[in-house]
């Protein structure tokens, strides 16, 4: 055991200087499971204690990696770019003098990001803890030939929800294999769908509403949701162009608000109560029962993501 001179800190595996790190990373973005994964990796290289990482340095490192990657490969996935855009916004706000409302907002967003990284790191550690334990059937073994004291009293059925689910999935998979290929029905919300929905809904809203509220409420998976956001936004722009609605966004990445134009392009007073829309069977949902107005613009930080 040679006495290590001086340095009390374990030498970090990743160089503290960010440039070589970034260059090392940019060619293997595929090795990461997504932006958060890369951020965590960068953060781990930055400081021993995740509680004290510098979000600003982290942002710079991430942007450097993405910038570098863009030079090499053009097909960088949207996730990476969205995160880059959000981080760039965060950085611009973090650089503002403290005390400004926007700067405070950014501080909060930075704290949330740091907390997410800590959570992910904690779960990684939990996974390692589990992995290190002796696992049954892998490291330790139960009785290989269990004895049943045979007299099988048929006492009910042994089946739980988990096995029912496995059976269902097995059945579906087998069934699919036997069937001829049919392309999966696309469930993405199209601009046309969004136009139709907006046209109906817009008449029911008395005032500015966050356009998020116009998304179809059945979308759950992230891809479908992204598609719905995009098509609803395009539909909103389309309708704004034709003068049916107005759009407003008070600040960058803030909520996008939408309302019906009180006076239509033809100069008539289109009172929200009586118009609905021209081409759909306009249910006359009174403005009072939509409940959407009280959830209008809010400071929810998810809008920026």
């Amino acid at each position: 055991m040679a006495e290590a001179p001086a340095s009390a800190h374990p030498a970090p595996q990743v160089p503290a200087n960010d440039t070589p790190l970034a260059e090392g990373l940019l060619l293997r973005l595929d090795g990461f499971e997504g932006p958060l994964d890369l951020l965590l990796d960068l953060a781990r290289g930055q400081k021993v204690d995740l509680a004290r990482i510098s979000i600003l340095d982290l942002v710079d490192q991430y942007l450097a990696v993405i910038e570098g990657a863009k030079r090499v490969r053009l097909e960088l996935a949207a996730d990476w770019l969205v995160m880059a855009a959000w981080l760039a916004w965060l950085k611009s706000r973090l650089l503002l003098p403290k005390g400004l409302e926007a700067a405070d907002e950014a501080e909060i967003a930075a704290e949330i990001l740091a907390a997410r990284l800590r959570d992910l790191q904690t779960m990684r550690a939990a996974a390692l803890w589990l992995t290190a334990r002796p696992q049954r059937g892998i490291d330790v073994f139960p009785r290989g030939a269990p004895e049943t004291f045979a007299e099988t009293e048929t006492f009910g059925i042994s089946a739980d929800l988990g096995s029912l689910m496995r059976a269902y999935m097995a059945a579906l998979r087998r069934g699919t294999r036997h069937r001829t290929y049919r392309p999966a029905r696309t469930t993405l919300w199209t601009v046309k769908d969004a136009l139709a929905r907006l046209a109906v809904l817009v008449g029911t809203l008395p005032d500015w509403s966050d356009f998020i509220h116009f998304l179809p409420d059945w979308v759950v998976n992230p891809l479908e949701r992204r598609a719905a956001v995009a098509s609803t936004l395009i539909a909103g722009l389309e309708m704004a162009k034709s003068g049916t609605v107005r759009l407003r966004q008070d600040d960058a990445f803030g909520p996008i608000l939408l309302r019906r134009l009180a006076f239509g392009p033809d100069g008539l007073d289109n009172d929200p109560q009586d118009t609905g829309t021209q081409d759909t069977g306009a249910q006359d949902t009174g403005a009072q029962d939509t409940g959407a107005q009280d959830t209008g613009p809010n400071q929810d930080d998810t809008h920026g993501r």
């Binding site: 009785r143 030939a145 009293e153 042994s158 929800l161 059976a167 998976n221």
Partner: protein, 184 residues
């Protein structure tokens, strides 16, 4: 040192016989033990440990295995009740009926991509978890099947709506023959 080695050999033999799903032949034990180990001595020591225990070490079918002491079996028999496991086919059929009800036998077969035997259907009927739910008004008037309240009770569900959502099970749900109600 030598004692340590011997003790370890006994422990290893014990663990191997315990974990094996078939009797372990002496040949396999010799292979598992270090070269030069005295198998007879190891097994004698192990057998000695299991004298007068609730479990005994016996040689059967050309190998070693553990067995419950014969004198205890009667007392244990009373205790154990073994719930019957549904065969895989029956489980799959039950799951399909649960998700697609009311559903005909032909539709179940199409979803599974395999024929459904009368035996399986009878076995399911025996469990009281499925029941006929009328007939579909199409040529042949096939019987429709659905689940019973017993099904819900068994799986601890309050309501059919408490079954896990299909989209939570499958990232990309395969195209399924449409739910019978909307078509045909």
């Amino acid at each position: 040192m030598a004692d340590d080695d011997f003790a370890t050999q006994v422990r290893l033999a014990e663990a191997l016989i315990f974990a094996s799903d078939t009797p372990i032949p002496p040949r396999a034990l010799t292979q598992a033990l270090p070269d030069g180990a005295d198998l007879d001595a190891v097994m004698a020591a192990l057998q000695n440990i299991y004298t007068d225990r609730g479990v005994i070490l016996v040689q059967a079918a050309g190998g070693w295995q553990f067995q419950t002491a014969a004198d205890l079996a009667p007392q244990l028999k009373r205790v154990i009740k073994i719930p019957r496991r549904l065969p895989r086919v029956a489980m799959e059929t039950l799951a399909i009926i649960a998700y697609h009800q009311p559903v005909t036998r032909a539709e179940v077969e199409e979803i599974r991509g395999a024929t459904l035997s009368q035996t399986t259907l009878d076995a399911l009927l025996d469990t009281d978890m499925i029941t006929p739910k009328g007939r579909r008004e199409t040529p042949g008037r096939p019987t429709l099947w659905g689940t019973t309240p017993d099904f819900l009770t068994h799986f601890g569900l309050n309501d059919l709506r408490d079954l896990p959502r299909r989209e939570d099970l499958l990232v990309e749900p395969p195209t399924i023959p449409a739910a019978p109600a909307d078509e045909t």
